[in-house]
Each structure stands twice: as C-alpha cells, then as structure tokens.
C-alpha cells in the first residue's frame, strides 16, 4: 500500500508523534552495555588523576610533602594549590556567586575536600601515590550545626571572606552567614499571624541527601598543543556553560574549546556544577601535553560532589476556624556547607523556594532564607527537582497536615477548600509567581475516588481500635499530597546562570530524501530526549520520528543551550524544537505552493503534507518538499530546508499532581511497608505516555529512598557517616512497590505544544506523600510531626516516645 492510499489516521500513527508510546530509541545500546560513557573513553598516552583528600572537616594545612609520591615509578606529577596559584586556578567561581578552593589553599573546610591531585600512568599507580603524599594538618574546631554558626564561640570557616559584609546576594551579618533572601510581605503576614483564629507552627527539616547517579562524575581533558585546542569530555548536564566557564577560567578562547557530554548515567542535579576534578584534569593535560582522565569513585561522589536539600524550615500557617488559610510564614535556615555552590538561577539564592504556597490560594505570605556556612561538602543542587521546589513542596504539604491536626479537620478536605480554583488561573501567588494553568479540584477528586479515600479512613479507624485493644501491633498511615511544581527555567529577563540567559535552542536540518537531524542545547542523562524530541518534531513537520536523529552534548555541533536540569528540557528546548519545526513548515508551505502552482495561502497543512484547500487530492508531502528544496530552483526561496530557534520562555510551567500513599507500620520494629501508591500527574500535553510512566516510577522510587532513609549524615566532628552504598540507601526492585499511575491533562497556555515537564514531579510530590503516611499513622496517638528520614530506628523512636512500647 502506498503512502498516499493511507487514511489520515494511519498517516498520523506512522509519524509516532505527540501522544505515541514510542519505544525508547536509546535502550537498544543501553540494555546491551553499548553505551559510551566518560569512563569508556580511552586515548593513546592517557594519564589518570586521583585526589588526596582531607580526612578532617576543618583544619589548617601546615605542609604538603609530595616527594615520596613523585618518587613512585609511573607518577608524572602532583599538583597542589601552590602549582595552580600562578594560573589563578587554585580557587574557582561557583554557580552561586561564591568561590571554591580547587585544591586546599591553607586550610580544609570539609571532610573529603580536594588537597592534591596526583597524575600517573595508570589508575592504580595514581591511587597508590595518593597514600604517599604527606599532609600535615592542625585541626580546628568544627562547625556542623548551622544554628551554632553565629554563636560567639563559633569557628570562622571562610577566612578569605571573613570581613566581607556584602556577598553575592546582599548583606552578610556574620562571617559564617552567606545571605538572607526575603520574599513576600513580612509585616502583613505577621499581623495576620497575630490576629488569626488559628495558627499552627512547626519546624520542618528536609535532611541532607545526595543525588547519587549510577555513574559518578568524571572528565577526560585533552589539550592538543599542535592546534591549541582543548577537548573536554565529561559528565556535564550543561556542556555549553562548562565551555564558557572553562574559557573564562583558563583564558583559552572559547572557539578553541570543545566540550562533549557523551552518554550520561543519570545526573539528578549532581552533574550541573563545576568540580575541582574537571579543573585539575584540564590543568594536568595542559601541563603534561597528554590526555588526562579523572573519574571519581562512589565514596568520593557521595562525600564531595554536590549534595541536595538540608533546609530547616520553620513554619507558621494561619487560618479561620473553618480552615480557610489566611497567611503563611516561613523562615529557612539553609545549610550550604563550606562553599556556596548551589546551582540556582543568579537572582534566586534559595532557588524557587518561594513556590512554598503550593497549590493553595494563600492571600498573604512571607519567606526568609538564611544561607549558612558549615564544615560540610558544598552543593545544594536540585536533586531531581526544579531549584528547591522539593523543599518547598515538602514544607507546605507538612504544614497543611499540621494545620489539619490543629483544626481537627480531614486533611483532604482542608486541601480542597484551599485549592486555587480552576477559574483563578493565571494565578498570581503571594510570593510572586504567575501560575500558568491548573485544575486541582478535578485531579484531587479523581485521586480520592480512585483510592476509595473514605474507605481507607474507615479501615484506618478500625485498625487503630484493634491496636488499642491489643489485637495488632501494626498501624496504617494514609499519606496525602497535592503538589504544584515550577519548572522550565526560565525567562531570560529574570533567569540566568553565570549571566547566561536560561533560553534553549534547537537546530533542524531536513535531508534531501526527507529524513532529518535536530540538535539541541540540552543533554539527556536517561530522560529519553532522542525519543521524545523526535516525536515533537514529527508532529510539527510530518516526518516520522523514526526518520529523525536527535543529537545533543557536543558544543562544536549543537546550538548553545543551558542544559538539562529542573525539568527544563521539554518546557524550553522542547518549545525551541516546536518553534524551529514551525519555521521549517513555513518555508515548506512556500515550496509546496510553488510546486502545486497555487498561492501560498491556498495550501494548508494536513499531518505530513500541504494540500490545496478544498482539493485534498492535490498535495505535496514533506518528503517531496524536502527533495524539491535541494533539487529545484524555486523563485524567491533559498535552497535547502533548515531552521534554528532560540526559545526564551515567557513564563515557567506549573505541573501538578495528586499522590496518595498507604503504608503499614510495624510499631515494634519500625519497619514500614508500602501497601499502595497512587500517583496522578498533570504535566500538560503528554508527549510519550510510556516515558512519562517510566519517569514517574523512577522519581517515586527516589522519593521513597529519601523519605525512608537516604541521607548524608555527619557526626559532631564532621565525619561523613553515610559515605558508601552500605549505608546510603538506594532502593532496588525489592524495596520498590507497585505504583498506580494516572493523569489529567491541563495544557500550558504559553508553551507551543502545551507541555509542562514531568521528570521531577514524582520526587517533588512523592517525598511528602511517603512522609505524610508515616506521620499520619501515629496521628491518632498524638503525633503532630516527626522528622525525616523515616528509617526503622526513627520510626521506632517515634512509637517509643508516644509510649506505644509500654
């Protein structure tokens, strides 16, 4: 059957465009072990780097003796801060406007900090040599508790900026204080708090954790001294930004630097920042004239590259006696570690924490965030979320539960009466955002009905009665969550990283025979861009997704973009893809009209072709048009069929969802079993339902890990207690429940195809749902709030403190 004989529906299906559960084109190579990761790169004469790291959390470096290491056969060089200083590279700027030591310059500020960089002929010799570098330290008092940072006897951590009263984000009141960021109306919020009929208060801690991608961070630097070009392969979520930063730091002209992100084994925010390993690999390659590889091991990844969360959120929420929320107040103490290396847009030192009014119509609100230095690893990245949105969502979803207890009201009902109504969009929040679209009541009611919420509550009451009668030692918890995300950063007018506007880009070339390649400024780390971006384009230009190659990650070929994190790929680069596709289609329309010998306005688009209006039997397919564009002289039209779009989003997008988790808790051992998890996501237009489902499963599993035990914990001396996967919780299939997924579809009004982004929603909404379930189980026994992570011991402790073991 020829293409022309197919029905419109058949032609539509053949494109595998928007809405198609097209199989992931990446998986053939990943599932066969044929991916190409940084550590797979092998080059002739390649050297290997390894770090000497500090075992102390705070100490003065008295001396570094590298002689024994240099004497080891196979060791090529050992770099210390003294070697980097003449190049101005012993410190580097962070994405948050601070600076960070590349190698210890006079002191160390966290356990695991980079002290010296050994370069050797093989990986094993490099590791052997790190043991031979002798570092003399003078230990200093350690600061691990951010609430003690400004006490009189607190040690001063950052002597380099101890006297600076002004930081990148305004005034600093103490040497250990980084910034204070305020949003909303302080006075009016406090006035409401003092007059409101009901005020609930709680300190909500979102503990320090780590993105822990399957592949750790690494880079291979190769300086070609003949042509003066530096090539840098690395695990970069934002390769173009890395190129610009590398150029600014090294003085090498940007056109002489090529940055390549090959396959990346998960990022989750951990691979956004610039790490000392990258800088040292580059310097080492310049010094030696040979390629240098640095790949961190798992313990280095957990203890030195970017952590996430660590927000102490003091909250107050005011309401009427009927439960209508009147105001929200939040003061956050943000533990940033030794350097402020958060990866947030410049104007947002606490990210989008000001989305903490959540899904609710809260007329007045105030947020203040204090950033604090401690003797811990730097970071504060968005671990599978948009900047600090998980913290915000956890905060408001816990505060709603706390308020429900205070009001003695059902928490589902309390949410419902406070949701922003469908007719209130676009909605201007008290903390400054314009929510683009939403229909929260519909989603919420669908979720409550799907899980038989009333039935669950009845069952829970019966279980409590049995527990009190001594017939069971198990309690049931129902965890509710309705979250609103803010993703797709972002509009260039208020979003930049190191000054680079947060637009993104797509460049499309249609080949003469009707297939295509599209290159983007983003980079997939497992999200399936090669699959989904081809689907967007297939629908826009009528070329089957199977005939479109998607390429990202090579700065020599891809257009400039800000990379992939914060669920920004679909909202920003996806929009650029659609817009570039529309440019292709506009040119194709002129060519079609010429070929059909009618006026441009007399043809119209239909799936994969332009037809003459009113005469659909007269048409030119995109494939025919592409061929003509390269083979025919068309008056007034340039040959070829290509387009580029740089897309500056007019607003963020605001995905939302309704999650309900049911848990059974063994009061005596603290073991929590997940009975069921229902996840309804509304991410606007759905590009590939199968990939959405996979994203939701993955994000929920990371949320489960965080809520139930995944943490980076320090002892009072600043030693990392959870520096290996023995203690750092990564769930396997064994710990992972069956998820029931569902959706509603409320398109974004300002996005070209209405898509909002979904990869991070399940982490944002999952953590509150899991945590609320634990809290909810103990509610009948007087619990208001217990802190995460809810591991066996902490659950047991909660039960113990409530007298349930007596």
């Amino acid at each position: 059957m020829s293409v022309e004989a197919k029905t419109m529906e058949e032609r539509q299906a053949a494109l595998k465009g928007l809405g198609s559960s097209r199989k992931r084109v990446e998986d053939a190579r990943f599932t066969q072990g044929k991916g190409n990761y940084v550590d797979d790169i092998k080059m002739p004469d390649m050297l290997f780097g390894d770090f000497v790291r500090s075992q102390h959390a705070h100490a003065r470096v008295l001396s570094i003796d590298t002689s024994a290491a240099l004497a080891l056969p196979g060791v090529v060089a050992v770099l210390t801060a003294k070697d980097l200083e003449p190049l101005g590279l012993h410190w580097m700027p962070t994405l948050a406007g601070d600076k960070q030591m590349v190698l210890a310059d006079g002191k160390v500020l966290f356990q695991g900090q980079e002290v010296a960089f050994v370069i050797a002929e093989d990986r094993y010799i490099a590791a052997d040599a790190t043991d031979l570098v002798v570092v003399k330290y003078e230990e200093l008092p350690v600061l691990v508790d951010p609430f003690k940072a400004e006490l009189d006897d607190a040690p001063i951590l950052r002597e380099d900026i101890a006297d600076a009263t002004e930081g990148a984000h305004g005034p600093r009141r103490h040497p250990n204080h980084i910034f204070t960021w305020e949003q909303g109306e302080k006075e009016s919020t406090e006035a409401i708090l003092s007059s409101a009929p009901v005020v609930a208060e709680e300190m909500v801690y979102y503990h320090r954790t780590h993105p822990c991608p399957l592949e750790t961070c690494g880079a291979v630097a190769s300086m070609d001294k003949v042509n003066g070009k530096l090539t840098l392969w690395g695990t970069f979520q934002a390769p173009h930004v890395v190129r610009t930063v590398a150029s600014l730091l090294s003085g090498i002209a940007e056109h002489n630097i090529r940055v390549v992100s090959p396959d990346i084994g998960g990022g989750f925010g951990n691979k956004v920042g610039v790490y000392p390993g990258y800088v040292c690999a580059i310097v080492a390659s310049i010094v030696t004239g040979q390629p240098v590889k640095w790949v961190e091991d798992r313990m280095e990844n957990l203890t030195s590259t970017a952590f996430a969360r660590d927000y102490w959120m003091q909250g107050k929420i005011a309401a009427t006696a009927e439960g209508k929320i009147l105001g929200l107040w939040c003061h956050t103490t943000a533990d940033h570690g030794a350097f402020d290396a958060c990866a947030d847009p410049t104007k947002y030192p606490a990210g989008f924490m000001n989305i903490c009014t959540g899904s609710y119509d809260i007329p007045t609100a105030y947020l203040a965030v204090d950033g604090i230095y401690t003797n811990k690893a730097p970071g504060g990245v968005a671990y599978r979320c948009s900047f600090r949105v998980t913290e915000a969502a956890y905060f408001i979803e816990r505060m709603i539960e706390v308020l429900a207890i205070r009001l003695n009201m059902d928490a589902a009902e309390l949410r419902s009466i406070n949701f922003i109504g469908k007719d209130q969009f676009p909605y201007h929040s008290a903390l400054g955002w314009e929510y683009d679209s939403g229909d929260y009541h519909t989603a919420w009611n669908k979720a409550l009905e799907a899980v038989d919420y009333k039935g669950l509550r009845a069952e829970q009451s019966a279980q409590v009665a049995k527990f009190k009668a001594g017939e069971t030692r198990s309690l049931m918890g129902i965890g509710l969550c309705h979250f609103t995300e803010i993703v797709g950063a972002g509009p260039v007018k208020n979003c930049d990283i190191l000054g680079m506007g947060m637009f993104d880009s797509c460049e499309i070339r249609i080949h003469p025979t009707g297939s295509a390649i599209a290159r983007l400024g983003t980079i997939s780390q497992g999200q399936g861009h090669a699959t989904t971006f081809a689907q967007i384009l297939a629908t826009e230009i009528g070329i089957p997704a199977d005939d479109i190659t998607i390429e990202e990650g090579d700065t020599d070929t891809a257009p400039y973009g800000l990379g992939t994190y914060g669920s920004r790929s679909t909202p920003v680069a996806g929009a650029a893809t659609a817009m570039a596709g529309r440019k292709i289609r506009a040119k194709a329309q002129m060519i079609a009209a010429y070929l059909l010998e009618v006026h441009d306005n007399d043809v119209e688009w239909e799936v994969d072709r332009f037809i003459v209006k009113g005469a659909p039997e007269r048409f030119k397919t995109m494939k025919e048009i592409a061929f003509a564009s390269y083979t025919q002289a068309i008056p007034g039209v340039e040959p070829g069929l290509e387009a580029v779009s740089y897309y500056d989003p007019p607003n963020m997008t605001y995905p939302f969802g309704a999650y309900i988790c049911v848990m059974d808790i063994d009061v005596d051992t603290g073991v929590a079993g997940i009975r069921s998890f229902y996840a309804l996501d509304d991410c606007g237009t759905r590009i590939n339902p199968m990939i959405i489902e996979g994203q939701v499963h993955g994000g929920l599993t990371e949320a489960l890990a965080i809520a139930l035990g995944q943490e980076i914990a320090y002892d009072e001396l600043g030693n990392v207690k959870t520096g290996s996967l023995m203690d750092f919780f990564i769930p396997t299939s064994w710990e992972t429940p069956n998820y029931q997924t569902d959706f509603t579809e409320t398109p974004s009004p300002h996005h070209p195809i209405g898509a909002k982004g979904v990869g991070e929603s399940p982490n944002v909404g999952g953590v509150p749902a899991f945590s609320n379930a634990i809290n909810d189980a103990f509610k009948p026994f007087g619990l208001t709030h217990t802190q995460m992570p809810h591991d066996h011991w902490r659950i047991w402790k909660t039960a113990n403190e409530l007298g349930l073991h007596d």
Binding site: T669, P731, E735, W793
Partner: protein, 285 residues
C-alpha cells in the same frame, strides 16, 4: 576505592593452595567469593600482597548428605545451597537463611566457606552454623583439624583459624525439626539490624526435645544462646518460656550503635525478631 597491588594465584588443588599459603606467609590471603575481602581491599583496609583464589579447586565444591551428616564444600555458593533439593530435605533452614543474604547476583558468587571463615559479625552463616552445631574443617601445613562453630569466633574478624589454614568444609547433623531464620534489615544487601537462627524439635509428647538459638550482628561475634536453648528443652515451649528465652538471649548480646540505630533500639528489635523466629520455628516443629 582502588585496591593496592597484589599477585593473583589460582592453585588447582588443595595441597597446592596450602603449600602456597605456607610459602607466602602472612602476606597472602585466601579468596573465595570475594564479597567480604574485595570491599575491604578497595577501602585498603586489607592490602594482601598475594591472593590465593580457591575457585579452581573442584574438591571444595560439594553438598553431601550421608549417615545423618551434611557436608558442604567451602566453595559452594549460596545460590547452590538454595538450589539443592537434598539440602532442602536435610536442613531446610540453610535455604531460608541463604535467601536472606544480599541479592541473587551476590549469591551466585558468595560462598559458604567465605561467609563463615572471615569472622565478619554481619555475616548470616556463622550464627546459623552455631545453631546447627556445625564443625569447620581446616587444612594447614600440619594436616586437617575440625573446630566447632561454637568455638570458632573470637572477636570481629578474629577466629580460631590459623593464617596458614584453609577452611575447606562445613559439616553438621541433619536437622529436620522446626526452624526459622528471621532477619530485620534496612534494605537488600544490608547486614542485619537483628537476626535470629532458631531450631526447635517437638517430641511425640509435645515437649521440646531439641532447641538451639543463635543471633547475628548483635555482638562482635555470633551469639549462641546456650541458657535459653537449655531452658526451652527443660520447660517446653509456651508463651512464658518463649518470653523467658528471649529475655535470656537479650542479656547475652552487646549490640553497638551504628547507622541502623542505637543499642537500645537493636535490643528491642532483636527481642521482637527472636520471638517471631521462635514462634515460627515451633509452628513448623
């Protein structure tokens, strides 16, 4: 997490392996499945100059049941223990325990000999072997000797095995009465927060003719609870005697605080796990 340098040896007979150990002395370590030793080498907590791999020695891989005695070669993997129909009949608790060790991939590599010989208090097999009253056969330059599992463990990573000896076989009487191995852990692959191996045999008159209890990861060695076992045999199994036995066992343990929680929590969890293990074992007796 990069190990130091070492020489790798793969002898094909027990005599050759024993000879290598004698020749290389304390710089050599025997490697079986490697799941305890290799992580320690990657952390450089162990830096042997020579690794003597036992995997090519065929005589160390067997499961034999004869005359009421089970004999298992040291290089038998946990996957093989799980898959053995003969062993399931002779001592079903071995499969129940093996299934709670790590995950399938690790159980294809991990061996019974490595699990019991290393002296890691987190390993599950040592307590099981004490409950089963197993003997370990050790081959050294002076020949072979047997040591009881209940006498083998001295402290964490310290055992009755001499550096020049290789643990070649574990043996124990068949055990077809009631049994249970209960383990609380944070996740797959984790050591126990608390675990209990229990064997209870019910006599025809309903009394308890045999009892053996041993606990995992609640002290620096496995803990065989002699008094509690004896009490159950003397007084029979009832709610009261189980409570008494649990109390007795808990006084025998000395858990230490770690990321799983403080000692107080571990003692409480151990009591619950042990009680459940006793009840399950008796229900199967």
């Amino acid at each position: 997490m990069i190990p130091g340098r070492f020489e790798y040896h793969q002898p094909d007979s027990l005599a050759a392996a024993v000879g290598l150990l004698s020749e290389l002395g304390e710089d050599a370590r025997v490697i079986a499945g490697g799941h305890s030793l290799i992580p320690m080498m990657k952390l450089r907590l162990a830096m042997p100059e020579h690794l003597v791999d036992l995997k090519a020695i065929d005589t160390l891989k067997h499961i034999n049941v004869a005359d009421g005695v089970v004999r298992i070669g040291a290089m038998t993997t946990q996957a093989e223990l799980i898959g053995s129909a003969e062993l399931q009949l002779a001592a079903p608790i071995v499969k129940e325990t093996s299934l709670q060790i790590a995950d399938p991939q690790i159980r294809y590599q991990g061996t019974i000999g490595g699990n019991v010989a290393n002296g890691d208090p987190g390993n599950d097999m040592p307590a099981l072997m004490q409950a089963l009253d197993a003997s370990f056969t050790l081959h050294g330059p002076g020949g072979a000797r047997d040591v009881k599992a209940r006498d083998f463990y001295e402290a964490a990573y310290f055992t009755a095995r001499d550096d020049l000896e290789i643990l070649t076989e574990v043996s124990f009487p068949t055990c077809t009465g009631g049994y249970a191995y209960e383990k609380q852990k944070r996740k797959i692959g984790d050591y126990a927060t608390a675990a209990a191996a229990v064997l209870l045999t019910k006599a025809a008159d309903g009394s308890c003719s045999h009892a053996a209890i041993a606990l995992t990861n609640l002290a620096d060695t496995p803990v065989f609870c002699d008094a509690a076992s004896t009490h159950l045999m003397q007084s029979g199994v009832s709610a009261d005697s189980i409570a008494h036995a649990v109390q007795s066992c808990i006084s025998d343990i000395e858990p230490v605080e770690d990321n799983r929680g403080p000692a107080e929590f571990k003692k409480h969890a151990a009591a619950i796990i042990l009680k459940r293990s006793l009840e399950t074992a008796w229900s199967r007796a």
